[in-house]
């Protein structure tokens, strides 16, 4: 896990050094004198060779120091990341949990009665939300709920603790949750369909268990492993920042930060972001792996 984070940070750093485009040039402008340009390069630490720069970054990173952003010199990278995470993390957690729990229930209900009206209805809705462009869904929600009905603010985020904070996050969370709900419901339905034809399910029914216990107690427990894998992946992707949805609702999350950093060649910010996102993804997938052993006693880790 540590090796993954280290490797990705190194690859990202190397890539950013090799790529054309020059942060110092962006900072002083094309009209600046060579002396001012050199001074800017020196101030940003760009005059050093790559190994020295990366080594220094690594040393500082171990001390929780990620440097200062090129574009926002008033803020440290750690501070910018903390602010982004304060928006991205709650959304990711709520969306992943909401989509997972509702999707699993919907998928189980569909798998219990394949071909029923409810199954057809939910499957059609699922197909629809899997194909809908996320940003179009966001725009439609904006058009309906904030422009037409005025129930929610039309994007932006005032920060936490201002009373209305949650209402700014409701629509983006909904736009992110609906396609993921459809995904979990489809995944559950497919997995459950396989499991419901197995012998132990027939046994559970034969010994007279209620259908609810058969479905949610016996069958679903055995379907959980692929579902938890899906949950881990979804949560990890969401933590990386939902770039497009954050852009639709102009939320100051990690995705918007990544977009600005990439367009502005903000190397410290991009490096810090990559390291943070990779660390979070690695942590989430390790947690999912550990969960497997909890869910299925046949899986053991030495």
């Amino acid at each position: 896990m540590v090796a993954t984070v280290l490797g990705v940070a190194m690859a990202a750093s190397l890539l950013l050094t090799v790529l054309p485009g020059d942060a110092a040039r962006l900072m002083v402008g094309t009209e600046a004198s060579p002396a001012r340009y050199e001074a800017a390069r020196k101030a940003l630490g760009l005059d050093e060779p790559w190994p020295a720069r990366f080594g220094r970054w690594l040393w500082a990173a171990f001390h929780g120091e990620l440097g200062t952003s090129f574009r926002y010199p008033a803020f440290s990278v750690a501070e910018l990341l903390r602010r982004g995470l304060a928006v991205t993390f709650p959304i990711a957690a709520v969306v992943a949990l909401l989509a997972f729990s509702l999707g699993v229930i919907a998928g189980t209900v569909c798998a219990a009665r394949p071909g029923s009206t409810l199954d057809l209805l939910l499957s059609t809705a699922g197909q629809t939300f899997l194909a809908i462009p996320e940003f179009w869904l966001g725009i439609l929600l904006l058009g309906l709920f904030s422009v037409r009905l005025g129930w929610f603010p039309a994007g932006g985020f005032p920060g936490w603790g201002k009373g209305q904070s949650l209402s700014y996050l409701a629509l983006p969370a909904l736009a992110l949750a609906l396609p993921r709900l459809a995904y979990f419901s489809r995944l559950t339905r497919a997995t459950m369909a396989d499991i419901l034809s197995l012998d132990f399910v027939r046994l559970a029914r034969a010994k007279g268990l209620q259908e609810g216990r058969v479905l949610f107690g016996h069958a679903l427990r055995n379907a959980l492993i692929p579902l938890v894998a899906g949950l881990g992946l979804t949560f990890a992707r969401l933590l990386g920042g939902a770039l497009v949805i954050e852009q639709v609702f102009s939320l100051p999350g990690l995705g918007k930060l990544a977009l600005e950093a990439a367009f502005g060649r903000d190397i410290p910010l991009l490096l810090g972001l990559t390291a943070l996102v990779t660390a979070m993804v690695a942590a989430v997938s390790t947690a999912a792996d550990l969960l497997y052993a909890l869910l299925d006693p046949r899986i053991r880790y030495a």
């Binding site: 890539l15 790529l19 054309p20 485009g21 197909q127 629809t128 899997l130 194909a131 809908i132 462009p133 996320e134 940003f135 179009w136 725009i139 439609l140 904006l142 058009g143 422009v147 039309a154 995904y183 489809r186 995944l187 497919a190 997995t191 492993i225 692929p226 894998a229 899906g230 881990g232 992946l233 979804t234 992707r237 990386g240 770039l243 497009v244 852009q247 639709v248 990544a258 977009l259 990439a262 367009f263 060649r265 993804v281």
Partner: protein, 283 residues
């Protein structure tokens, strides 16, 4: 069968508009032709936008780039992925497993971030986007061809071909590849849909086709700031994109059920997590 009809019904109108748009457009897509914010009418089926440009013509012209980029990247990545996957599956060894590791790495990297990095390398234009989408799709074809080749090469008919002295190239291209055709076709259908979506998301973020030339994603980004004045310019480009992607997904489902019901573990969803379902694939 009903699914096929529905899929054709969803894909064809949009595709026909895009193809027709290459030869004939009702209005110049980049020119103001009427007053702004007209609702849909006979002379402007999708209404007009904030400048007074015809949205219908812009949708027709905007789809060209989306379809061209998506089709090109699927073509390149499927050819390259299949070639590499066949080789990796048949010869295995150091290079084979190295290729698979590399493609796993690409899969783990978020597609949009990949495109952003390439955009800062190659500029915001079409080339960077196409390259990002090729890289993004390559692993799916590579893994599919690799898994299929691994299981096919142990089968008796390959042994028989080997016994009568068929050269390796004949084994790969005449005996193994044709057996992979249907899973690859199905994957290509799903990938086309997701690539159209990805291209639109990237052009929504400002990558790819640059204004004033229209593209579906870009049109939605611009129309969003005028939502208060008119809903229609933000509605139609998304609707055409949505129905195309939905149709392609349905077509993929149909092909999968038609060609081989046993493919489910290999192609469980259009973009499955790399969980349990995918590993034990058998062709």
């Amino acid at each position: 069968m009903r699914r096929l009809v529905l899929a054709i019904f969803l894909i064809l109108p949009g595709l026909a508009l895009v193809i027709l748009g290459a030869f004939w457009l009702p209005y110049q897509p980049t020119v103001v032709v009427d007053s702004p914010f007209l609702p849909p009418s006979l002379s402007h089926p999708f209404g007009t936008d904030w400048f007074g440009r015809d949205v219908f013509s812009r949708v027709m012209a905007g789809g060209r780039a989306s379809w061209a980029i998506a089709a090109l990247s699927i073509g390149v990545s499927s050819l390259l992925g299949v070639a590499l996957g066949l080789g990796a599956g048949y010869f295995q060894g150091f290079w084979g497993s190295g290729l698979l590791r590399l493609s796993d790495g690409i899969l783990a990297f978020p597609a949009v971030l990949l495109a952003l990095v390439l955009a800062s390398l190659l500029g915001r234009g079409v080339v960077g986007v196409a390259l990002a989408l090729i890289l993004f799709n390559l692993p799916y074809f590579l893994r599919l061809a690799h898994a299929g080749t691994l299981s096919l090469k142990e089968r008796e008919f390959i042994l028989a071909a080997l016994a009568v002295g068929a050269p390796t190239s004949r084994l790969l291209f005449r005996h193994i590849l044709p057996n992979l055709a249907s899973p690859l076709l199905i994957q290509a259908t799903f990938s086309l849909g997701s690539t159209l979506l990805a291209e639109a998301s990237l052009s929504y973020l400002g990558l790819g086709v640059q204004p004033p030339h229209p593209s579906w994603g870009r049109m939605l980004w611009e129309a969003q700031s005028w939502l208060g004045q008119s809903f229609w310019p933000a509605f139609f480009p998304g609707l055409v994109l949505f129905s195309t992607v939905l149709g392609l997904n349905l077509l993929g489902d149909f092909l999968r059920d038609l060609l081989d019901p046993r493919l489910r573990p290999l192609l469980s969803l259009s973009r499955p997590p790399r969980g349990e379902g995918r590993k034990g694939g058998r062709v």
